[in-house]
């Protein structure tokens, strides 16, 4: 028996089957493509954007979409298309980083609660309850209030708050796994707790981790947009889709195109992650194997 | 005993039903032919997956409709062909003329509605009675199926009742409108042995009192010997033998039936090894040409592998096997 690798479902075969199931889901594959495209746009924004997003040409301000500026210009004469492309960086980075932080915290808390049981569980479950009882965004605003606005603080604030769903589910997984025979065997066989957790529990939690983090990204992106809209997130001159919508408010009578484009960008991005997340969840779901 | 009437209450003629899936067409039922007379108890026996439940669900037209479909054949109930009936027409028959009880009483009752109300629902769906009258009839029925303190049970929810009680409630629900046919799909399989006997006796008593015909589906030979009058044996979606319960045990004709009988360990015999039928039931997407049992049959001849056997025999004992045809002796 290979003691080094964690014992989990026949790992290679499992992911192969999942990929096959995912491939058949046309909608999910389209969204996978869109998400990949968004990642490319975010990574290579300087190469893709037609103009410098911060370049202000006051003469050209508030122009309607045309051949020079495909999506028009904002109140400082900056090219909206370029700003949207750079905004993609912000949205995706917030989504990914906050979920990363949240998943790590959530996994740790969930494992501690499920594995060490009794008092630790009671305390952690209570903390989870407290965090979930309170509106997410309000908490985030409170933290931003303390830390001050700005992108980096936003990563921290959102990361600190998005761990609860993960923690709950991981706790459930660990409780279930703890009672399974092979984990009992591992515990009896000796080895530090950390080792058992990392080599045996973690691989079996991959399903939960992948699904909750993917499905958490849309929420994080929307939260960033909302915070930036309220002025508590990204600060000027950085271009976030949320702050662009906020700025566009002053010009809704004259330049409606300004309000529309960033919103559409958000919808496409969030929808793509949502649908991809749904597809991933179905493809990886061990219960749906027939 | 029952007085046998020459009219058939229910007659299935060459019923073919298949599932159309991603893996192709799966013929779940092939040329199923059987009949039940008024007041008769017909047992349907066979291994899991042989099509017994599918036959019952086809009669009730409750086969999930993608992917299942009745391809051909007739289901004649009192002369009406149920395969041609509209949805509304079928709703009038279900619960009122033909009723069905299922294997798992645990999950077959609505968990959030009290038991008595579920029985009342069956009444109000089919008859124009007032609430009070429906309630009274439901209470009466609960008492009739042998439940003590019907009043208390009437207001109880299914999770508060034991398995045996839930099955009695199912029976009450099924018989409250006095249907002419009751279909029981493995009614006792999920219950304790002692409760099994009680439920079977209940079904028999109610049949005697109400004159209901019963189609009893089971894989348990013991149940067949206790309750059934005539028996149909199914294999891989086909009917392979039809005879009385007595003859099934004393003079089985089809090689599959014979194999089944030999597999039952007998108390008065000492055997070293249990008898098994070699091979396994064919998958629905890989059915053999010719007789479906041929690959496992000890008597197979060439004609068995090439052609599908027709039904041979007398009115009271029929078998789908070439061995009983007139050409058998001539073939190699």
């Amino acid at each position: 028996m290979n003691k080094k690798k964690g014992i989990s479902e026949n790992t290679k075969g499992f992911y192969r089957i999942s990929w096959d199931i995912l491939r058949k889901n046309r909608l999910a594959m389209i969204c996978l493509f869109i998400v990949a495209a968004l990642i490319v746009i975010a990574l290579f924004a300087p190469l893709i954007a037609p103009r410098d997003p911060d370049l202000q040409i006051i003469k050209e301000k508030l122009q309607k979409p045309g051949p020079m500026h495909w999506l028009g210009t904002d109140e400082f004469g900056r090219d909206i298309l370029s700003r949207i492309i750079y905004g993609c960086r912000i949205s995706l980075s917030v989504g990914v980083i906050s979920q990363l932080i949240g998943t790590v915290i959530g996994f740790s808390m969930g494992v501690c609660a499920g594995y060490f049981g009794k008092k630790t569980d009671a305390v952690i479950s209570f903390i989870i309850q407290v965090f979930s009882s309170f509106p997410f965004l309000l908490f985030a605003i409170a933290i931003m209030f303390v830390l001050g606005p700005g992108l980096n603080n936003l990563y921290i604030a959102l990361g600190l708050l998005s761990w609860t769903p993960t923690a709950r589910l991981i706790r459930g997984d660990v409780l279930r796994l703890k009672n399974s025979e092979y984990i009992q065997a591992c515990i009896i066989g000796g080895g530090s707790n950390l080792r058992i957790i990392l080599t045996h529990l973690l691989p079996n939690c991959f399903y939960t981790l992948i699904v909750t983090s993917t499905l958490g990204i849309p929420g994080a992106i929307l939260s960033e947009a909302s915070m930036s809209f309220l002025g508590l997130g990204v600060q000027p001159p950085m271009a976030s889709w949320g702050s662009m919508i906020s700025n566009a408010q002053a010009y809704i009578r004259s330049s409606t195109y300004y309000s529309i484009a960033p919103g559409i960008a958000i919808i496409i991005t969030v929808m793509a992650f949502n649908l991809l997340g749904d597809g991933l969840r179905d493809a990886l779901d061990p219960k749906m194997r027939s | 005993m029952t007085d046998i009437q020459t009219e058939n209450l229910l007659e299935l003629k060459d019923l073919c039903m298949s599932f159309y899936t991603d893996e192709g067409k799966l013929p779940a039922l092939s040329n199923v032919t059987l009949h039940i007379k008024k007041g008769q108890i017909l047992g349907v026996v066979g291994e899991s997956g042989c099509g017994k439940s599918m036959t019952a669900l086809s009669i009730m037209r409750l086969i999930p409709s993608p992917p299942g479909k009745i391809d051909s054949g007739q289901i004649l109930f009192n002369g009406t062909d149920l395969t041609q009936l509209s949805k509304k027409g079928m709703q009038k028959i279900r619960g009122k003329e033909i009723a069905m009880i299922f294997q798992e009483p645990m999950s077959s009752l609505n968990p959030v509605v009290p038991a008595g109300k579920q029985i009342m629902e069956a009444i109000t769906a089919h008859e124009h009675t007032g609430r009070k009258e429906a309630e009274a009839r439901a209470l009466e029925m609960i008492g009739k199926v042998g439940i003590p303190m019907p009043d208390k049970i009437f207001h109880s929810c299914p999770h508060q009742l034991s398995g045996g009680m839930r099955q009695r409630i199912m029976i009450a629900m099924a018989l409250v409108c006095k249907p002419s046919l009751l279909i029981c799909d493995e009614p006792t399989t999920a219950l304790d042995v002692t409760i099994q006997a009680q439920i079977l006796k209940l079904i028999l008593d109610l049949r005697d009192e109400l004159g209901t015909s019963v189609l009893l589906i089971t894989h348990d030979m013991g149940v067949i010997s206790e309750v059934a009058e005539m028996v149909v044996v199914m294999y891989a979606g086909q009917v392979v033998e039809y005879t009385s319960a007595k003859d099934l045990f004393t003079r089985p004709m089809h090689p599959y039936t014979t194999g089944l009988m030999e597999s039952i360990p007998k108390l008065n015999e000492d055997v070293e090894e249990l008898h098994v039928i070699p091979g396994s039931v064919p998958m629905l997407n890989a059915l053999p040409e010719g007789c479906l049992f041929a690959p496992r049959c000890p008597f197979t001849k060439d004609m068995c592998r090439k052609w599908k056997p027709a039904i041979y025999g007398t009115e009271n004992h029929q078998v789908r096997c070439f061995k009983y045809s007139t050409e058998w002796e001539k073939q190699s």
Binding site: F126, Q129, V130, S132, S133, F134, P135, L137, L138, I141, A142, F145, V146, P218, L222, A225, S226, F229, L230, L232, I245, Q249, I252, R253, T256, S259, I260, P262, G263, I267, V270, M271 | L62, K87, M90, Q91, I93, R94, G95, A99, F102, E104, S107, S108, N110, P111, V112, V113, P114, E121, A122, A125, H126, C157, H159, Q160, L161, S162, M170, M173
Partner: protein, 310 residues
């Protein structure tokens, strides 16, 4: 049942206390002297110190917390630094507006969400189902403040059907209600559909059909009735997020609700209002969760009645 309720209430109280602790300590470790902000640039150090002492802000934090908590329990949420009025008054006024908007939005969302969800489930895999599902995904993916702005543009500015700011008339509530409710209608329709499709696979639905019940009775009395539980769960957690949702909507439509009040006070660091407002909202959220738990007991007799009798 009583045990269930009591344990839930005890838990709720514990949560509220925990939130009060977290809130107070987070908000009081911020840098920047609120008194200085309040008094303006030209205040002397002496005045600042005097006012600080008067307001009890020079005491140790724990003492300040206990004072604050004690006051709150007696209904005294303090006085706004900037508006000089009791916080509780400001909150109460603003809350009425927010409550009206939120309840209307949620009622609309529940009605439309459940109806569309049932339709999608009944017509599963047909065109109507797919259409409704695409719309509902779009609904949960669009930021509600953006929907608000688009509604303003189309129905306010172009068509002139409804006012786009303030709460002067009932008509003024219509666009904000639509904007706030869209997202919830979408998520409710999704969960309704999913739940219905799960339940329809259950044995007891087949039993209902075998009894010869008409299709609508099977759908509503058996399938939907059992599909309710997850919908109620979602409704519960949704209702608490409606406050932050309304914050954004109030901002777009200039509605004087609790969200806008909090935002304004965050801007000028009006600490008592922020602390009071956060606690106010927290208590309401916890109450909503309690109500939902109560609702579970009503809907699911398994919780209400307990175990087996023979």
């Amino acid at each position: 049942m009583k045990k269930y309720l009591l344990s839930r209430i005890a838990q709720a109280i514990g949560v509220v206390f925990a939130i009060s602790l977290i809130t107070f300590f987070i908000l009081n470790i911020i840098p920047g002297n609120p008194v200085q902000l309040m008094l303006g640039e030209f205040a002397t150090q002496e005045t600042i110190d005097r006012v600080t002492h008067e307001m009890g802000l020079d005491k140790p934090v724990i003492l300040q917390y206990l004072n604050w908590l004690g006051n709150m329990l007696r209904g005294n949420f303090g006085t706004s630094y900037f508006q000089g009025r009791p916080v509780i008054e400001l909150l109460g006024q603003a809350f009425k507006v927010t409550a009206g908007l939120s309840l209307m939005s949620y009622a609309l969302a529940l009605l439309s969400g459940i109806v569309f969800g049932i339709i999608a489930a009944v017509y599963h895999n047909k065109f109507l189902d797919k259409l409704l599902m695409v719309l509902s995904i779009a609904g949960i993916s669009a930021p509600n403040f953006w929907i608000a702005i688009i509604l303003q543009i189309i129905f306010g500015l172009r068509l002139h059907w409804f006012p786009i700011s303030g709460v002067s008339s009932f008509a003024a509530y219509i666009l904000p209600t639509l904007a706030l409710g869209t997202r919830y209608a979408a998520s409710i329709s999704r969960i309704t559909r999913t739940s219905m499709l799960e339940v329809v696979k259950q044995d007891y639905v087949r039993t209902a059909q075998a009894k010869g019940l008409p299709s609508w009775k099977v759908t509503m009395g058996h399938t939907f009735r059992n599909a309710l539980l997850p919908i109620v769960t979602l409704a519960g957690s949704d209702l608490s997020t409606i406050f932050t949702g309304s914050m954004l909507i109030e901002s777009v439509f200039s509605i004087p609700g609790i969200g806008k009040l909090l935002l304004d006070c965050i801007g000028n660091r009006d600490l008592p209002v922020i602390e009071g407002g956060v606690m106010y909202i927290a208590v309401i959220c916890v109450l909503i969760y309690l109500l939902v738990d109560l609702l579970y007991a009503v809907i699911d007799p398994r919780i209400r009645l307990g175990g087996e009798n023979e």
